[in-house]
Assembly symmetry: C2
Amino acid sequence: MATRKEVAELAGVSEATVSRVFNGVGPLKEATRRKVLEAAQRLGYHPNAIAQSFALGRSGNVGVVLPHVPKVHLFSAYYFAEILSGIGEALRENGRDMLVLLRSPDEEPGYAQLFRTRKIDACIVLGARDVPQQLAALRELRQEGMPFCLVNQRYDGERFSVVDADHVQGSYEATKHLVELGYRRIAFMNGSPEYSNSRDRLLGYRRALAEAGLEPPPGGLLEGNYSRTSGLAAAVRVGELRSSGLEAVVCANDRMAIGLVQGLRERGVAAGQDIAVVGYDDSDAARLCDPPLTSVSVPFYEMGRTAALRLLAAAQQSGAQAAEPFAATLPTKLVVRSSAVRRGGM
Amino acid sequence: MATRKEVAELAGVSEATVSRVFNGVGPLKEATRRKVLEAAQRLGYHPNAIAQSFALGRSGNVGVVLPHVPKVHLFSAYYFAEILSGIGEALRENGRDMLVLLRSPDEEPGYAQLFRTRKIDACIVLGARDVPQQLAALRELRQEGMPFCLVNQRYDGERFSVVDADHVQGSYEATKHLVELGYRRIAFMNGSPEYSNSRDRLLGYRRALAEAGLEPPPGGLLEGNYSRTSGLAAAVRVGELRSSGLEAVVCANDRMAIGLVQGLRERGVAAGQDIAVVGYDDSDAARLCDPPLTSVSVPFYEMGRTAALRLLAAAQQSGAQAAEPFAATLPTKLVVRSSAVRRGGM
């Protein structure tokens, strides 16, 4: 591999000039620049990107933090896969690479360290939760002026950049749809309230019930962890509630809804016929499962793309503008299928 | 942020000693090392990872090259999602991060450049094809002794490290299963022969037919591109072949099989009843679709994990050992569901 010295000799310039060309610093004549680049190309000279990044103070990498749980096939979850696809597309368009950072929810997040050590220039945090440790790590990033963005998670009262979906509206429409189909006793199976998007969904559910003069039925606020198995486990409780008149369940994601449908089937209860079930996310599985799920479509791909594009734009600003956090809320949309049909039509 | 000088003063050592501690070079007393680390911690000193990587000659990042196609939600494909999950798990266990490199199949791959510029220390290439440009780029990596590994792709006659699945056996068992169910006229819908795993599947299909004294029916070798839409499009041809006696189709992945099932349904032909269809991959969709697909389970997650672990082990070797490529072939397994039932039982 050619050295800087050889390039300098062939181009008839000093080694410092070669460095200036590759680091993009200092005033340079266009002719000089071209001479150096031609010599570098002829000799197969490749400036060291790390040394170069060091000089420029950046790596060209955008970090994406994902919550690591052992044995969970994280990339296979529709939610993360779609957001990552959107981020990947936007980063590629902008010549950046994606550094995937799997961090356990139980370990010190240490986001700021990733910037200080210049592994990344900017950062998108997925699956963050509203717990003190995580909040402190994000506040540190904010205080140090390191560009980052949250997806699908807000922290009330904090000035963090966020790209979110309108989950209040999504959950409101799902619940209202059931009310319009004639259901009165409608339960809600949520994920952990440590996620702002869980709290948003609960809000939308309650709002739709209140508008119809209804309340959650006794024992009708269930909690899972967004996994299929937690939906499967909830089938026992839902089966019991049915005998006291429960007619429908809104689930906070498709995986829990699919688990619930499977668990009910094992107990001889047919979703779509004996009880109405609505999912959330409109994943591939919602279309494919039996019965196909009425669900709420969330533009995860667009959310990832928007987060990356807004973040890269923000990272190029400086001063007061750079300090101003951005926020975007993308619309959700109800998709009607056959897991919830008109009451009496059952 | 504290400087190296301040750490040196507090620890009572030279700045060079501080550097040696953080770069892990040279002989050092354990007591000295501890003094420096304590001083660094008290002062909140963070050595610059890029500068440090530069000194050590590594980034701590393992690259994963993925074929980029605009608008395709790559991470949402079961195939890539599972392999990435396995790679991610193994890298995390070893304290490495994953640099995702989306590269268009039409652009110069330039793998070697990623090493030369020290963006990555080792590299896993997914979705590689047997085309001259890609082969040349991989040969360059091999010649320069840069550690890399292919997943699910072999190049005959090349000494590249590969982790693969036994697709000859997988396809053989899928076809043999149909023969045992009483089918004689069995078509095969493959992906591009630019993938060695497509050629392997064809081999297994032909072997099972030959053992039963059968041949592919006329026009019965179809080609798609592993997408659902290519399966959907093939339904026209399969419909025509049915009128000349076609009884069953083995598909080289589930997505094409699902597209084919949907396309046949639009034409009034029920898979599982009017024609037998077998998929490949045993993705979530295979379980969920209607009818549930008989398919071939491929341990993609384990393949990703194995590739990362073997690669990291190989990258730590030197000399003749490091030059020796590794190879692993993981077993596949037929999973029987209801898209192909006993002939006559239809």
